[in-house]
Amino acid sequence: MPPWSDFEPFIVSGLALGGVYALSGVGLVVLYRATGVLYLAFGAVGAMGALIAWSLGRENVPGWLTWLVCIAAAAVITLGYGLIFGPALAKRDPLVKAVATIGLTLILYGLMDLLWTSSGGQARSESLPTDNGGFSIGQIQVDWTQVIALAAGVVITVGTGVFLRYTKLGTAMRAMANDREITATLGVPVRKVEAAAWLGCGVLAGVAGLLLADLAALDATTLTFLVISSLAAVLIARLRSITLTFAAAILIGLLHDLLTPITALSNYQNMTPFVLAAAGLLVMSRRRVMTQSREEA
């Protein structure tokens, strides 16, 4: 067992990784709470936005404009998907709705590889101006982008929690996610609320995509399938609690990196999210009651 000092630097990098997972995971849970859809295309949409931003950046479009375009692109794609397929699938099981987003993921993934071909000899990278500053914790330097990612995770967690619970629009979203028909009979302008929910989701995906492209890699495969690892945090929170998702994501990131100095286990550290999710879910579903309701118990 290595000495404590070996673990120290990995605490910082683990928190940063946790921030990455949290951004993605919180985004997923927020969308689920607002629309009833587990938006598995979250990563792909963000990746597409980031790649568009990258392409524009090469044409010497100013940075801030590329970020806006990234977020706008993500919002448009998500809104489009929500408006076309949302109503058609509204009455279906959450599983069906989630599998449908897999369809969107595949479409985007194929498009991205077509439009931004992999060329063996080069790589794309996206850097934000906040990369160039930072501070030191012990021997490790932390850059502002990582701080922003973590902060964004917190802000989204708190902000959307408050929004969903206390505002009229948020409450309408939650009602719609639960049962669209009944909400419609209550006089809520269903289409508008739905559009607002999807639009918000798209913006979140765009922001997350930009940050993740900087923190992880500007690579369609990495960004698209990063959701699989962040699903672990989402599952531990039973798709319900945004705060729990955030906490679980941080925990997963920390644990993942803290395993690095332990040579016997470090090869398996990528299993951390999956093992934790499986364990957490199985532990928490020990006692179950069979219900007929639409909501998964």
Binding site: T117, S119, A123, D131, T260, S266
Partner: protein, 464 residues
Amino acid sequence: MRAQMPRAPRAVQARRTIVLAAAIAIAAAGCSSSSSSSSTTGTSTSTATSTATSTASAPASTSAVSTSQCGTKPGAAATGTPIALGAIVTNQPGTSFTDIPNMANAYFACVNANGGINGHPIKLYIETEQTNPAQIAADAKQLVQTDHVVGIVGNTSIIECSVDSSYWQKLGYDIIDSGIAPECYSTPNSAAVNMGPRYSSDGAVQYALSQHVNKIVFDQSNVPGTGYIAAGPAALAKAANVPIVQLTENVPISDADSVAIKEVDDAGPNGAVVLNFTPPEALVILQAAQKLGLEDRVKLWGCSTPCNTDFLAQSLGPKWNNKLFVNAELLPPDVTNTTTMNLYKAILKQYGSAVSGGIGSFSQMGFTEAEIAVHALDSVTGAYTVQSVNAAFQAVSNFNTGMLCQLWSYGSYSLHIPNNDDSTVTPDNGKMVTAQGCTQISSVDPQIAQYRSLAGTAAAAPAS
């Protein structure tokens, strides 16, 4: 009787539209893609993208080389029966080596426009694969049985050499390739123009050892063959009495920070971290190290050949000048002003629209393989058959490619490592410059020793 929700006609139409659209899209893609499995001269099969590395860095030379030098009869287009050659290349999201056969094809296009091979044009059939052994085996059979290729030139694949080696042996094909898998270097039927991950890592480790580091951390991507690759650096470190730590990372890397920290911690202040990754992954690790402020925490960083691209030099910035030392299997294009190098650049410019990476080791490899093939084919008298063509390939001896440190030979040995002499480069404000000239890979690596005992040591290549 099925219980259904009342279906709006709109949905049915939407369904038809989706399927129709998809069908049209595929048909359009099939039509717009300019060829079947063959790739014709110079046309691009990929949609226009903005990903091309800027080749704006002007070549050091100003001598205008005419591409017509590539052929024997400048200006005369070849019109005889084509000589069919084949190549199998990995092309999947994240890993694409298509630049290599595409550049070979560009060279062939040039030759075809300038006399061909005794008036015969060369037709290169390129099969792409996605690291699926069944697909790779099928591709080989397609090339042989349907396309009737007489030679294999330009193979670049993570596992193809392993999968198809016995097939090529059985049929008598001596392939000229850019090797990655162990079998590309350890079988009688494959000779590579590059050094491959193991020997290139040997070169990087060798340089680090020459700078008197007291520990080596060798980190590589977890793709097939890690044990084989690690054995080379392990032998070198052992002979030098320097401890070596072997690490592997699953790619694509999503957590570069902890990778960088781990490497630096293991190496210590007088150690070296040597990487063996594809350029995007290496870049991610090095950038993470820079962000964390770790680049000076070890004595030096090393990298196998994939890092040798201007793109990497540009992305990394000045902190890595004389800090990162990259093994270069081929002569550096930016500082080599020879006729062959200029011809390469000219051909790339005129015929290489399908080569998205521009000037760099990938296209250099493609050029070199095609060059060797044409040189061999020019010596064939009589019909171009599997026997005659491959006999010619095998007979290539002490050929000066103009791209390598040594003369290149095929020969009939049980293994082939014809490129075993290389230089080391380092980034210098956006370009790769030479840090150490052509140096032989040490015979401490048992495979190198075995090859040299069979083939001897090739002479250094004079500048051409």
